[in-house]
Amino acid sequence: MNLLEKLDAAAAKRKALLPEGIGAFGIPIEEIYSATEARIGDRRVLLLGTNNYLGLTFSPECIQAAHKALDNEGTGTTGSRMANGSYYGHRALEREFADFYECCAGIVFTTGYQANLGTISGLVGPGDTVLIDGDSHASIFDGCILSGAEIIRFKHNDMVDMEKRLRRLGKRTETTLIIVEGIYSMLGDQAPLAEIVHLKNKYNCALLLDEAHSLGVLGEKGQGLAEKTGLLKEIDFITGTFSKSLCSIGGFCVSNHPQLDQLRYVSHPYIFTASPSPATIASTRAALQLLRNGNELRKQLWRNCTQLYTQLKKTGYTLGPEPGPVIAAILDSPRQALQIWQSLLEHNIYVNLILPPAAPDGKSLVRCSVNAAHTTEQIAYVGDTFEKLFRQVLNS
């Protein structure tokens, strides 16, 4: 089989799951009206499939900051942080992230994906070990592959399995990096951080926590799971993204280990790419300020999360183990998931469709992402529509 035939075979597999004409993947959003509404085709839809958790995409502060940077600094840096792409804004944002997390060091990356890729591949290498959760995001997995370290996987959120694997490593735990996530993107559940920190200390490893989905969402200050659990000082490295609660694009790593700075000289995903544009950095800085002062937004977000989770649970849907901004209905077959996804779109609700192998345990997911800008009425409409479809699709 040549290279193109391999692609044909992969495309045939995809088409078998998703018939032609159904644009569940890469669906074009023609016009975006607000943090909660857009036009898809000729439909004005309610957006329940974005990661805009605090609903800040149209905040005047962020837009003004981006405009100003665009006017003053141009459209792009046209270079790497190692060369000409390190502006005042990049360094200021790094200081602001370090300050936000009460850390001594911070690094900004061009995307959230690169934040994990660059941090992991900069921290570990051949001869080291990474111990990762079975439901880890692709950016974590790819970072581990790029590093050349041995990758050991433990069962999702299973601390007995995790300890078993630490014990099996013997003395190699000293060069082991454990990697977990604050909120997991598929089912919206949180890592059991207290037990993970206990094991990290018991076996003398380092711990990296990815707060991509939990930044701005968990904790009074919005720092994430580390703050919510009171374990901020126990985490060696925290990574995260700008593309969820901070409504732009980019990523970061912060640490209380000053050695983090060395990553700037060894991490290829940091070095060999253009730095984030001035407008991106400016809107992110403004969003970080709003996030820090966003306790009311967080309260609204959690009211919305609880409202939708409770209604879907009561209806009979199988959901992830706890409420959160990611609420996934777990379905047995791709056909059921596709039917519900399509019917929701016909009811002017856009959510995410996740089919095997992307979803855990061979299941299919219809995943909602709730945000602080959704109104109680919008959430109720989504809940009622899911309820109607449960009777129509799952009981048929």
């Binding site: 581990c144 592959i145 041995e150 990758i151 050991i152 345990d361």
Partner: protein
Amino acid sequence: MTESNYDEIMRLLCDRLSSLTNSEVTITADTNLISELSIDSIKLLNLIMEIEDTFDISIPINALADVQTVHELASLISKIKSTH
């Protein structure tokens, strides 16, 4: 790798693979796990976890990239077990 160690692993693998695949294929050392047995990635990961517990080892995911046949999987397990 000791012969008995490898043989024990091969026997276990053949038994487990037979019950997993329910296929007519006779499983030998040269049987290709993916193309001949059509084991999907989830079944394979579950089998790996079961083997890991049986031998009290962890098999790095990146080491599995080079594994295609039953013999290669048995050799990998045997190698990890001997250094454990």
